[in-house]
Point group: D2
Chain length 136, copies 4
């Protein structure tokens, strides 16, 4: 299926002393993208999962390739797609494109693990989530 | 008694697109200062209070005067003193001085309220805290 | 004129160890609100001002009243209105309302100063900005 | 040579809605660690490099393995060592250990590139930096 796309704007406080986006802001963008993906693509409120069901997807692996710097005011399209869904894990791919020139400025891969947040213990990916993600 | 003093360094990611410290970083500095005050001046681990006893001091009022901008690499001395201790509230004063020239770059006043974090309900300032703070 | 309104969602990483929004996130929300105000209400890209014209509105005074905590997933309406426009300063008022119950959760007042960001020197509020703000 | 070690404490605002450190805080910890490494291990002020000489080491690749969650109040030892120094790149390894139990909670590898920050163009790793890093 088509990957999920969402847009954000680089904000005044996102940059660093070199005048480009501070790199820890990228995984923050990815997490906000994942929250929007749950809401807009799956119709699931990730806040309800976390607070209501004590269920979440903490990260165990993060890889980012930074190809071109982002600057204040850049509009960026984030594309999110789902990779391998394992017994307990979900793999995610993120691609960031600067809207002005269409250039890919960063790409990332994360692996997250289905987790009981109360006990902080691994769970099997629940059927409702597997079905929702495979439908993407 | 003497006010509590602690020092921090403005970090690479603390600035904004104008090249000076992004102003929401100031209250973050104050909070870290308060955590150090509890640890170093009172011998109390604020993390234990919050996590162990579900006790904390959420803020209800914040006032900051920004007098001179801070830049990446600036060493800053933070002075913390306690103001009025009410039935449920504690007033704090923060002063930031740039070490290079001794200039006061910002000053702040906060009011925090003794709170049961599980119920998010106001409490009277406990005696052990009142005693510890008055001893300062 | 009608105040400017914009909406945001409290994100997963916005909370603190007490499970409510970490208070330094509030001024960050206000700044993003101000950036949207420039774009959407005035048709001015604040990033262009800052990067292109080295013009900005650094803050000199911040006051926040925190009335009710915000939690992960809360949808919040921010209302922004302009107060007194002085020779060099602009006063702003921010009101945050939780959408679920319409409750005002925080209100704030800031004073910002028209500034040449290259020299970090005060300027008179330029006519184009005064006109744009007074039209609000 | 011995790797560089520095210690930090997980702060009140570092956690997320699951009650563990929000993962974008890890690369922020790494950057602060790198700033301390320059200061304390090499005797070089990274702020002077960036602001004074317009020289820096932006990241092009980040890999993190998250093994065990961090919580508010945890004291963490960060170990930093230098990997391959290429023509224009420097490879870094970061290991985070929870002090309470000595457990490795995260490890990371980054690749940074010597960069003229004014032009945002790649440079050869300067001799003074190569010498300083190889001496580690």
């Amino acid at each position: 299926m088509a990957p999920f796309r969402t847009t954000f704007i680089v904000r005044f406080g996102d940059v660093d002393s070199a005048g480009i986006v501070y790199y820890p802001r990228y995984p923050h963008y990815f997490h906000i993208g994942m929250e929007r993906f749950f809401q807009e693509a799956l119709g699931i409120d990730y806040a309800d999962l976390v607070a209501g069901q004590q269920f979440g997807l903490p990260i165990v692996r993060l890889e980012i390739d930074f190809r071109s710097p982002l600057r204040y005011g850049d509009r960026v399209e984030m594309e999110i797609s789902i990779g391998r869904i394992g017994t307990t894990s979900v793999e995610w791919f993120y691609t960031l494109r600067r809207e002005a020139d269409g250039e890919i400025v960063a790409s990332a891969r994360t692996v997250t693990v289905a987790t009981d947040l109360a006990a902080l213990e691994k769970l099997e990916v629940p059927d409702w989530l597997r079905t929702a993600l495979e439908g993407r």
